[in-house]
């Protein structure tokens, strides 16, 4: 027994906390567990309709209780004293503490052995298979091929390994039965005398289905890959197109900024030039105004002088006229010399 797992490994902690899919409270009172096992019992009745069932490794007897509830002669054994002790009161009598390495009493229409043999050492497991084979012709079997995290799984084996060991005892898979509602690897073994023809036919039938599925899935996978690849390409070209567009946009904006700065520069030049022009014109205007004022002043002066000069001209003209008159008067009068001569010479010639 050193290689197996003793009763102590399956205490309250095992059932209530750490194990069994994380459901709390592994008991008949738990509705979810109860519903699960009642449904399982229904399926079993539907598939094989047994009268008597032995559940090897029955734990707290929930499956036994469900089968009993369906009116079947059900009983169970388990190595865990705790499990049996903590079983529901209605099922307690149908259960007993026992190891699967010990031969079972009696013969059953069906023996269930669900998730049990992986907890036993390899030698114990072979003994258990022997005992099961001795007690029935029909086995509801499930043993996790993985789930290595569970510490008491000391003997996980692939499904074909268990099938081979059952085949050694004359049991073969019922390929017409699908137990995947119990577990992906659950199988119904039946003791039958089969010809090689039948056996090959059964397995080829399974293999063909799987092969077909595999081929179809491969094809689907390939197509998916191609689709992904084409989508990727579309995406990439879309992205690069987008990037090219954005780069062009950036370039366009840069050109616009440059043009705007250029516009600003020339505007500034225009403003500065205009300001300079205004300043120059203002200066010119001021100078011209000064010159105008000066010219006006000169004009006033000139006018004054003109008036003055005209006055003088008038005065002089008057005087001139007066003098001319006097001259004329003098001229009209004969001169003294002439008068004297006339007197002396005695009258004009």
């Amino acid at each position: 027994m050193s290689e197996g797992t003793p009763s102590e490994d399956y205490s309250g902690t095992y059932y209530d906390d750490a194990h069994l899919g994380g459901y709390d409270n592994y008991s008949w009172d738990n509705e979810e567990w109860r519903t699960f096992f009642l449904s399982l019992a229904d399926r079993v009745v539907g598939i094989v309709n047994p009268r008597s069932v032995l559940d090897v490794g029955c734990a707290r007897g929930l499956f036994v209780q469900a089968l009993a509830a369906k009116g079947l002669q059900a009983s169970g054994i388990d190595i865990s004293e705790h499990a049996i002790a903590s079983a529901h009161v209605d099922v307690r009598d149908r259960l007993r503490v026992a190891s699967a390495t010990e031969p079972f009493e009696g013969h059953y229409d069906l023996v269930a052995c669900i998730e049990v043999l992986e907890h036993m050492g390899p030698v114990d497991a072979q003994r258990a298979i022997d005992n099961i084979a001795a007690a029935t012709d029909l086995v509801l079997f499930s043993s996790s091929p993985t789930d290595h995290d569970e510490p008491t799984h000391i003997n996980t084996r692939p499904a074909e390994q268990w099938a081979a060991w059952f085949a050694e005892r004359g049991f073969f898979r019922r390929t017409d039965v699908d137990l995947s509602f119990l577990s992906p690897w659950a199988v119904l073994f039946e003791r039958r005398e089969l010809t090689l023809h039948t056996l090959a036919h059964r397995y080829e039938q399974q293999l063909a289905a799987v092969n077909t599925e595999l081929m179809e899935k491969r094809q689907a996978l390939l197509e998916s890959h191609r689709r992904i690849s084409s989508l990727n390409q579309q995406l990439e070209s879309g992205v690069s197109k987008k990037m090219a567009e954005q780069a062009a946009q950036v370039e366009h904006w840069q050109a616009e900024v440059l043009a705007a700065r250029h516009q600003l520069l020339t505007t500034r030049d225009h403003v500065i030039g205009t300001e300079a022009q205004v300043a120059r014109l203002t200066g010119d205007e001021q100078r011209l105004r000064r010159e105008l004022a000066q010219a006006r002043k000169q004009l006033v002066n000139v006018r004054g002088r003109l008036k003055e000069t005209r006055g003088r001209v008038e005065r002089l003209t008057r005087k001139n006229r007066q003098l001319a008159a006097e001259i004329e008067a003098v001229r009209l009068r004969p001169s003294f010399a002439r008068r004297a001569a006339r007197k002396l010479l005695g009258g004009p010639r």
Partner: protein, 563 residues
């Protein structure tokens, strides 16, 4: 006329008595009355010198003689005079020179008009033994960069006494260039500096005096370089000051911060031309030489090319300039201004260099020297010295005068110093050609870049006006030398409307503030009155003479700017 009291300060050491008598007569003849004259005798061996001055002092109480107990040389003697001064302004007069009769009154007029003036200087000429006046120096308006290249302000220098005392007067150790040193220090702090564009001072060329031959006093040029170096250090400009090719002229070599990003912008159409007998693609050689002649790494070359530019030219440019090249295609009709604006807006540098594609850089470190002066924020634009392919001057700064836009030193031989050293020292100018010029990027943006209403001619003239309208200086940098293979005989059509645009904005230029006494070259002109087509006429009068100080600015002839 009455006004501010001037303290004329004259250190005296053994002048010929007749010369001193002339100097005395020129002061007594002043038509401005409010002056005192402090003559500081620096232990002249002849008692007659002191006797002559005492005689004057007894006749006119405004004349004072200070007699030094020991010979202290010019700095100590001048400082004694400054200490004794009671006037508001110091007037510096040497013991053998002459003031014009209106020297003080002309200064008094300016002081009355500008109460914040701290420094006034005026034009000068020389007088020989026969009393003949010659070599008139028609000086530029206030030019701080030029003052670093030569002591151009003296004489006559008139400085606010309080400012002279504040900066510490003359400094020992700068004998021979003590006036240059003082002018630099006063110029640094002066609120306003005024140039009176009239000769108020006759400088006597007595043998042994500085005016006759500066080589007689080699210590003076060493002191001068030290004074300029001190000045650059004081105002925090990284530069090295050395001797120029003529005594009394200094070469400023600035340091450009390697982190400053520079963009050289070149417009081109990718043409080829025959230069010195071999065919070259102009823009390629321009780029090659500009890169060869600079050590500045933080550089990009923005080439704005017109569509007809051959693709192999662009590939060659890529080969020459590598990842420093930025190509900008220009598809609109030719417009130099627009091309440059597009290129400058595209440029990423803090400093922009405008460069024509028909140039070849000659001088190593050209980029650094062209760009570095822009670190002074009141410098808005810098330009270069350009030669034609036959080694005559094409450009050394613009001048705008007599209604024209001129290249005043055109056709002088390459080795010429120019009038009063104008070609060999850095100096302020009214403008520079955009064939090679540099500007801060922010200034370019602020002034609106090149005027696109001027697509071919005068756009650089307008740019220069805009820079100066912002209150910024334009500096010609003598050490930046390039060939400019502009065809001398090419008839460039200048339209009246182009000139009208510039005149409309800035008026008709009369007298250039920096290159004075210009007369227009009497060259035959095309219909647009642009550039004289034949090189035979209009040569500068000073051409060919090697001696910088012997040339009159009046001799400078102008050639029209049309590019």
């Amino acid at each position: 006329m009455r006004g501010p009291l001037f303290s004329i300060v004259t250190p005296v050491y053994e002048p010929p008595l007749d010369v001193l008598a002339d100097t005395i007569a020129s002061v007594l003849a002043q038509d401005h009355e409010d002056w005192e004259w402090i003559l500081v005798d620096d232990c002249s061996p002849s008692e007659a010198v002191r006797e002559l001055i005492r005689e004057q002092a007894s006749a006119d109480p405004r004349v004072r003689l200070l007699e030094r107990g020991t010979n202290g040389h010019i700095v100590a003697a001048s400082n004694d005079g400054i200490d004794a001064a009671r006037g508001e302004f110091i007037v510096l007069l040497d013991h053998d020179d002459l003031l014009t009769t209106d020297a003080l009154s002309a200064n008094a007029l300016q002081i009355e008009a500008h109460e914040d003036v701290d420094y006034l200087y005026s034009d000068e000429d020389k007088i020989d033994d026969e009393g003949i006046l010659y070599d008139e120096f028609a000086k530029p308006d206030w030019s701080p960069e030029r003052l670093r290249g030569q002591m151009y302000t003296s004489h006559l220098s008139v400085m606010r006494t309080e400012v002279v005392r504040r900066v510490g007067g003359f400094r020992e150790g700068y004998d021979g260039s003590q006036d240059h040193d003082l002018a630099l220090r006063v110029g640094e702090v002066a609120r306003r500096v005024i140039h009176i564009p009239r000769v108020l001072y006759h400088w006597r060329a007595v043998v042994g005096s500085a005016s006759a031959d500066i080589n007689a006093k080699p210590y003076a040029t060493i002191a001068g370089a030290n004074a300029v170096q001190d000045h650059m250090d004081r105002i925090g400009l990284a530069a090295e000051v050395g001797q120029g090719p003529v005594p009394g002229h200094y070469r400023i070599t600035r340091r450009l911060d390697p982190d400053v990003r520079v963009s050289v912008v070149i417009p081109t159409i990718g043409q080829s031309d025959l230069i010195w007998g071999s065919r070259r693609v102009m823009v390629v050689e321009a780029v090659r030489s500009l890169l060869d002649q600079t050590a500045h790494d933080n550089l990009e070359v923005v080439v704005v090319y017109d569509e007809p530019t051959p693709p192999e030219v662009l590939r060659e440019l890529e080969r020459v300039a590598g990842d420093r090249l930025v190509l900008e295609r220009f598809t609109r009709p030719f417009n130099y201004s627009e091309k440059m604006n597009v290129g400058c807006l595209r440029a990423t540098g803090d400093r922009l260099v405008f460069l024509n594609d028909d140039v070849e850089v000659i001088s190593q470190g050209w980029l650094e020297q062209l760009v570095a002066p822009l670190d002074e924020l009141d410098v808005g634009l810098t330009g270069a010295r350009l030669y034609f392919g036959d080694d005559t001057v094409q450009h050394a700064g613009h001048a705008y005068a007599q209604g024209h836009y001129l290249h005043p030193f055109r056709d002088l031989p390459r080795e010429s110093y120019g009038p009063f050293g104008a070609l060999i020292i850095n100096r302020e100018a009214s403008g520079v050609t955009a064939a090679c010029a540099a500007m801060r990027r922010d200034t370019f943006i602020e002034i609106g870049g090149f005027c696109e209403s001027l697509p071919a001619n005068f756009n650089d003239v307008d740019l220069c006006y805009k820079v100066r309208a912002q209150g910024q200086r334009i500096v010609y940098v003598a050490s930046v030398e390039l060939y400019h293979f502009e065809s001398r005989s090419r008839e460039r059509v200048v339209h009246d409307w182009e000139r009208s645009v510039v005149r409309g904005r800035w008026g008709i230029p009369l007298e250039d503030p920096y290159v004075r006494g210009l007369r227009r070259a009497p060259a035959g002109r095309g219909a647009g009155a642009g550039k004289g087509p034949d090189k035979g006429s209009g040569k500068g009068a000073g051409k060919g003479s090697g001696k910088a100080t012997r040339k009159g600015a009046a001799g400078a002839a102008g050639r029209a700017v049309s590019s």
